[in-house]
Amino acid sequence: MPLSVLLILVAGGIGGIALVLHLLGLSRIPPLTEGRARAGWLREYPDAVPEQISVAASGRAALVRTAQGAGLVWAVGADTTARRLIAPRLTDTAQGLQVRLRDPAAPHITLRLTDTERQTWRAALTGEPT
């Protein structure tokens, strides 16, 4: 197959499929609930039972406290992922917090938080007083 035809097929196919999926409403991100956050956490850390879960008002992330320390569950598209946080680097942003991890599979987490949430989450993630 000529390279030019292959390029048109691949580019057109990818663009067309992505457009159809978006028009079908399949780009929507369902909000996290406490139940989804708990399930999402236990999917990745089945031995670290959550003692407390705080879902952000944005519905995009949840702060999880366990006996082994704090962690985050956050939306990745329609699904979730989770990480235990050990000495994360936190930066305040206009919309909340940015968490930087030494993890090439999840290098940073952008959290949309209210001002109150930002203070309590920062304290929980760093162990600093509010």
């Binding site: 499929i17 979730t80 090439p104």
Partner: protein, 305 residues
Amino acid sequence: MIYPDVVQLAVPFFIVAIAVELAWIVIKGRGGRYETRDALTSLLMGAGNVASGILLGFVAYGFFMWLWALTPLDLGNSLWVIALCFVLDDLRYYWVHRFGHRIRWVWASHVNHHSSQHYNLTTALRQTWTGTFTFMMIVRAPLILLGFHPAMVLFVGGLNLIYQFWIHTEAITRLPRWVEAVMNTPSHHRVHHGRNARYLDANYAGVFIIWDRMFGTFVPELDSDRPDYGLVQNLGTFNPLRVAFHEWIGIWRDVTQPGLTVSERLKYAFAAPGYSHDGSRDTSQAIKAKHLARSPDDAGTPGFS
């Protein structure tokens, strides 16, 4: 004899099949799920795989032609020889795929294929960009030395890849018993993509599931334990560059951290995924053992025997 690049020729079929599966799911309301960014990432990984083949394919082909010049054997191009080559290449695929899950250096290339939390036909196209760097082309050397022409070996490898496309679906539940006994099917391959402890390191087959049955890695799909797709620790990004290279970066960071012995550095590169010198991570074996500690009744059931 000229063998076509069947994977490139199959691109229109891939697009039409994805459209049909999507229409089925939307109309019927079952048989899988799609999401824009996940599918887009998978499709971009597929395009990148084709591009890397065009850019780096000469490395493997050059190696194969060097072997072809060495061997005194030439089995010709009859249909029977092509069929035999297809079966033996599928056995080759089984072992390369098994290495891909048991050796971190090879897993670094293959991990991207398992990084979607979805399981649909776009997942099939979430292919590696870095396969050349695993040097797994060496496993094809016996075929060339036995007298199968390199172009034939690549041709049947392409057919193998195309076969595996359609089994990445939840729209097909089970096929007739004889098919499930001999062939790799959507059900068998869903198990392979499952991150459940039960399903880790199972069903490596490409076309024929008989290899897993022969080598003790077959696990059937249980209705009581539906596959949960993705990685043991899922990615936090849809960025194709991260998807393609994150495990290579992880290897580099692990191997170069201070204070390790040479043996520990080598294990970070070549031991099973999940190895750590301080026990801070879990291999598949450790994950299964921890699962059994939580659910001892699962002992002796498929995947835990």
